[in-house]
């Protein structure tokens, strides 16, 4: 299983495109008239890739992710997933992992994970088995009966990831999933996410503020500018996989991180 993802990362030239964004722009109505939020976004994410989007606050990263998830329509442009347009949420194609506190506090961990299957009226035994398997995948075997307030921040985000994967969508969107975690938990969760990714061979689009996190996780980092959000640069992260914590101390890691920071710092 593990080398599946590595292979797809290596041969991405031939791999099919999982997510395609064409000429996407977005303008929203603000207090003082129309505000351009995203401008002329072009994006191709090959299947199996781990793509990280970074950019300053208010660059429209979250808006872009909402549109990829079909939760908000763009003003213009198209989004294709698996070759078909995204116009409304389609959990069979796209799973979403949100920021902190997106779990339902009145449901247990396993009930939270099976929530998308409940909406689809999946048979009880089947959805429970599937949810338990996902909890096991994210390292929470035996925690199914806990309520969110009985779990740590990192464990809650593991549940969120399990929920995002429960319908086995080819694409997983992640909106700053580890932003609220402390530094150590964040590092551990990043590493865990890479393990889960290599076991499931998903296409991941991951949004973050953290440049270290971006370089550590990504096959490719997409740097966005401040409002209106445009793509400034795409940086291939050619660090070998599996990634290790030691790589963070290498020159290559530092140079990549520096290059991203330079782009963000000098963007108008």
């Amino acid at each position: 299983m593990q080398h599946l993802a590595h292979m797809s990362a290596a041969q991405n030239a031939q791999a099919k495109t999982a997510v395609e964004v064409r000429g996407l722009s977005h303008v929203y109505a603000g207090r003082e008239g129309a505000v351009p939020a995203l401008s002329d976004i072009e994006l191709d994410v090959p299947a199996g890739r781990f793509v990280v989007i970074v950019g300053p606050s208010g660059c429209g990263k979250t808006s872009l992710l909402m549109m990829l998830a079909g939760l908000r329509p763009p003003s213009s442009g198209t989004i294709l997933c698996d070759g078909r347009p995204i116009t409304k949420p389609d959990p069979a194609r796209v799973g979403v992992v949100f920021q902190e506190a997106s779990l339902y506090p009145w449901l247990t961990a396993v009930e939270n994970v099976e929530f998308p299957l409940v909406l689809k009226h999946a048979p009880r035994a089947e959805r429970r088995a599937r949810a338990e398997a996902m909890l096991k995948l994210v390292g929470l075997d035996g925690f199914g009966t806990r309520y969110p307030h009985e779990l740590s921040g990192g464990m809650k985000q593991r549940v969120s990831i399990a929920r995002g994967l429960v319908q086995d969508p080819p694409v997983l969107l992640m909106d700053e999933p580890f932003a609220a975690l402390d530094e150590q938990t964040r590092m551990t969760m990043g590493h865990e996410l890479l393990r889960i990714w290599s076991q499931t061979a998903k296409t991941v689009v991951f949004i973050t503020h953290s440049l270290t996190e971006a370089v550590y996780l990504a096959d490719e980092v997409i740097v966005m500018s401040a409002r209106p959000g445009r793509i400034l640069d795409r940086i291939a992260i050619d660090l070998p996989r599996p990634r290790t914590y030691q790589m963070m101390a290498t020159d290559l890691f530092g140079r990549l991180r520096e290059r991203i920071w330079e782009q963000i710092r000098t963007s108008p």
């Binding site: 939760l71 389609d90 949100f98 506190a101 997106s102 339902y104 929530f115 998308p116 909406l119």
Partner: protein, 250 residues
């Protein structure tokens, strides 16, 4: 250990109060005409519970309370949800509702008598009026307690509006709604009692007012015990439900 001590102290205080109620009038330390001994009051309670006119009065009061509750709660809940969900309606009516909420409702009682008379409809109308504002406020608060990210998650997994209502709105709002139900019953019961004591031909509130005016203290206290017990029972029942439905609230 601490918890059980607290419960013991509570029981001791209650027992001391009841004992004082029994002993002080009997020793003549308190005028037994004003405060009849507890045993006399309990004897009277048993006696009046066997009287046909008391049964009738209780039935009338019970019907007034139930009908007013059935009107005020859905009406208030609908208006409250509207005020929270519909920006236009909310902007216009929310300040007005807040102003009216602050007014003691009993000053409107004479108008209700002039409009509806002193029968069943007036009791129901006045109790509904006393209750509906607190229900509106609570329902608004309940809707606003629903978290935007919880709605977003459901939408991203393709939930239909009906599923969002049942699986997100309802469980989010349930603890606040149950609390609202409990508090609105207090307002509702109070409304019926005030209306009955002020002007009525029947009903247990009317009887209690009469017993007071005629200086029938054992009957008066028996009536008070009866109504206090009924109110506390309802309150505790809903509170038990509340606790069961809000274990997840931290």
């Amino acid at each position: 250990m601490r918890g059980s001590v607290i419960i013991l102290v509570r029981i001791a205080i209650l027992a001391a109060l009841l004992a004082a109620w029994e002993v002080l009038p009997r020793l003549g330390l308190v005028n037994p005409m004003l405060l009849p001994p507890l045993s006399d009051v309990l004897g009277t309670l048993v006696a009046i519970l066997g009287r046909a006119d008391v049964h009738e009065a209780l039935a009338v009061t019970g019907a007034e309370v139930v009908v007013a509750f059935i009107i005020a709660v859905p009406l208030g809940a609908a208006l409250g949800v509207l005020a929270a969900e519909n920006a236009y309606f909310g902007e216009i009516f929310r300040p007005m509702l807040f102003y009216v909420f602050s007014i003691p409702k009993s000053i409107f009682l004479p108008m209700f008598i002039l409009t509806f008379g002193i029968g069943f409809p007036q009791k129901v109308a006045y109790a509904t009026f006393s209750t509906v504002f607190i229900v509106i406020m609570s329902a608004s608060a309940a809707v606003e307690s629903v978290k935007a990210e919880h709605l977003l998650v459901a939408q991203s997994y393709g939930a239909t509006p009906a599923q969002i209502l049942r699986r997100v709105y309802l469980p989010s709002m349930l603890p606040i709604l149950l609390e609202a139900l409990r508090i609105s019953m207090i307002f509702n019961f109070t409304g019926v009692m005030i209306a009955e004591m002020y002007a009525a031909r029947t009903g247990i509130g009317h009887m209690i007012a009469n017993w007071g005016e005629n200086f029938q203290m054992p009957q008066l206290f028996a009536g008070v015990i009866l109504l206090a017990t009924a109110a506390m029972l309802f309150n505790e029942l809903v509170r038990a439900l509340e606790t069961r439905c809000s274990t997840w609230r931290t």
